[in-house]
């Protein structure tokens, strides 16, 4: 039972991480109608910045804050230099152009930081485990990730639904020309939204950096999972992205943890140990396929699309 709860928490943590990525993706798609494959590169860049700045400043928190700002700037620069020219184009153009950006950033990172990965170690005060339930100890840092991501989710909700900027963002999503005609600098707004998405991806990257190795291409596999999330959740919907993130995080983690054992009940151990890992890594894609067959627009399609 303890093990099950622990796995649920791991699932939640993966879900929160996915949400940070998916929120940026879905915002950019919902508002600018842009498919950004290079989102994973921003995740990677965030992690590299964090590892570098943390080493410079000798402080995990300060390094993280600097990395966040730096990723925000990189994101805004990408928007101004490249993305801006892709608005209103075919989705195929977005896929191709941002695919090129992935190659560019992977190589740029290799040029700057070298081919070997980096590690970012946690400060002592984050290394301990806390007792969540009697007898259940969970790493403090993973708990922090969950809480921080929840905080980001709430802030994002407040930003989009309760502030003037958020109102403009929503207005820009439904009618770009009208907002522009009313005297709003829509171009600047788009740059800010893209930067926000980049910062969210960078945040995900830097939070994940101490758990994984910081390496080239680290953003690509998780990006595809984030795409699964926004497709399940309904592209353009932040609420859908949140629910789908938790759902996908849970299904993936619990599938990996328990599916091989469940299969052993139904078939020979040899067959189960072959099929188990393959099936559990396929699980979320199967899930997405089933959901798209039943609801081709995802679970929570954005209302205005």
């Amino acid at each position: 039972m303890i093990y099950f709860i622990e796995q649920c928490l791991n699932g939640l943590q993966l879900g929160m991480l996915l949400f940070l990525l998916a929120a940026g993706l879905t915002l950019v798609f919902g508002i600018m109608d842009l498919v950004n494959l290079a989102h994973g590169s921003l995740y990677m860049i965030g992690a590299y910045f964090a590892a570098t700045f943390a080493a410079w400043t000798d402080s995990f928190v300060l390094g993280g804050v600097l990395a966040l700002l730096a990723t925000l700037l990189v994101g805004m620069a990408i928007e101004v230099i490249a993305m801006r020219r892709l608005y209103g184009r075919d989705h195929l153009d977005h896929v191709l152009g941002t695919f090129g950006l992935i190659l560019f950033f992977n190589e740029l990172v290799r040029l700057i930081w070298g081919p070997a990965g980096m590690t970012l170690s946690l400060p002592m005060w984050l290394l301990s485990a806390i007792e969540i339930l009697p007898g259940l100890y969970y790493p403090l840092y993973r708990t922090v990730i969950i809480l921080m991501a929840l905080l980001v989710a709430v802030l994002l909700y407040v930003l989009v639904m309760r502030t003037r900027i958020g109102m403009l963002i929503r207005a820009g999503a439904s009618n770009r020309e009208m907002v522009g005609a009313l005297g709003i600098n829509i171009q600047l707004l788009y740059t800010l939204v893209f930067g926000l998405g980049a910062a969210l991806a960078g945040f995900a990257g830097l939070m994940q950096a101490p758990i994984l190795t910081v390496q080239i291409g680290m953003g690509e596999n998780i990006l595809i999972v984030a795409f699964v999330v926004i497709v399940i959740g309904g592209i353009g919907s932040v609420r859908g992205a949140f629910i789908a993130s938790v759902f996908v995080g849970m299904v993936d983690t619990l599938g990996r943890a328990f599916l091989p054992d469940i299969l052993k009940l139904m078939m020979t151990p040899a067959a189960a140990s072959t099929l188990g890992p393959a099936l559990s890594s396929m699980l979320i894609y199967l899930l997405m396929a089933v959901i798209l067959v039943v609801r081709p627009e995802g679970l929570f399609p954005a209302a205005n699309r």
Binding site: L86, H91, V95, G97, V228, L279, M282
Partner: protein
């Protein structure tokens, strides 16, 4: 047909002629690498031709086309490992399994549109990628070495590099001919009509879903053939063949050459692979050049090389 002697036809003819002469050149300079690279270009061009059928003519942006390369290749590899080396069994089975896979994937994916279609085809490719990674008996992550190429009972010897090269080239040209016949047939017109306006096509009574699905299956089968060739060429098959960046490469080839043009995918495959080869000799960091190049193609040369040769503004897509 207005005029045969256009720059475009000239380039296409020159490339085909050059490909025909490659073994002669390789023999003269004693450089087998050129032959190997050209074989690879031709096989990937075949895959790109199949993708062009659905992407360029059908408007279906499949981001998981490399999966069929893997499916075709793995059928060859698995059969070879299990002792079935006869090409008369291997190849039809590779095509049949690819077709079946395309039928299942197509039937599910074609219900969706736009970005959802891009993403779900990607998801299926990832799925099959992870299946291959999980195949412990067949090499899992490390891949599977194929010790014996497909045997055609002495009819044709695939381990002869020149023979194999010309077989690939013949199959590529046959595939281009097939695509030409298809897109100019009633079937092809319906598929292209569904690309421009699906609702209107259905309104005038065409069950476009079935047409698009058939087109999807043809493309998948053709790419499965490319996979079978690739496995025989490298004597090796691994999940890396199906990596999603490979699907991206195939899309790049099609767009670079010119979507919805007959020889475009071939031109694109030649251009991309030769460029990669040339850049990787100049610098280790060649992707830093080629990445932004893709972006520039998207921004300024939407019709690809084909569009540039035809003249600005005349591209389709």
């Amino acid at each position: 047909m207005k005029h045969w002697l256009t720059p475009k036809n000239f380039v296409n003819a020159a490339i085909v002629l050059a490909l025909v002469l490659v073994p002669l050149y390789a023999w003269m300079v004693g450089n087998s690498f050129v032959l190997s690279l050209s074989t690879r270009i031709i096989i990937l061009a075949l895959a790109a031709v199949s993708l062009n059928l659905i992407l360029g003519y059908g408007g279906m942006v499949s981001f998981g086309h490399a999966a069929y390369l893997g499916v075709g290749g793995y059928v060859i590899g698995i059969l070879a490992k299990e002792g079935v080396t006869s090409g008369f069994v291997q190849w039809p089975l590779a095509l049949a399994v690819s077709a079946l896979f395309a039928l299942i994937v197509g039937a599910l994916c074609l219900r969706t549109r736009g970005v959802y279609f891009i993403m779900i085809t990607l998801a299926f490719a990832q799925m099959i990628y992870y299946i291959a990674v999980g195949l412990d008996r067949y090499g899992a992550d490390d891949g599977l070495t194929i010790y014996r190429r497909s045997q055609f009972a002495g009819l044709i010897d695939l381990s002869n590099k020149v023979v194999f090269y010309y077989l690939c080239l013949a199959l590529l040209l046959a595939a281009i001919y097939l695509v030409w016949r298809l897109v100019n047939s009633r079937f092809g017109m319906v598929v292209q009509g569904a690309r421009s306006n699906d609702r209107r096509m259905r309104a005038i009574g065409f069950p476009t879903f079935r047409y698009r699905l058939a087109c999807f299956v043809i493309a998948g089968t053709m790419c499965g053939l490319a996979g079978a060739l690739l496995a025989n060429h490298t004597d090796f098959i691994s999940p890396a063949v199906m990596h999603w960046t490979r699907s991206g490469d195939l899309i790049v080839m099609v767009v670079l050459g010119g979507m919805g043009s007959l020889f475009g995918p071939l031109v694109g495959a030649v251009a991309l692979l030769v460029l990669e080869e040339a850049l990787s000799r100049i610098t280790e960091y060649w992707q830093i050049i080629i990445g932004p190049l893709f972006l520039l193609v998207v921004l300024f040369a939407r019709g690809g090389i084909d569009g540039l040769l035809t003249g600005a503004g005349a591209h389709r897509g």
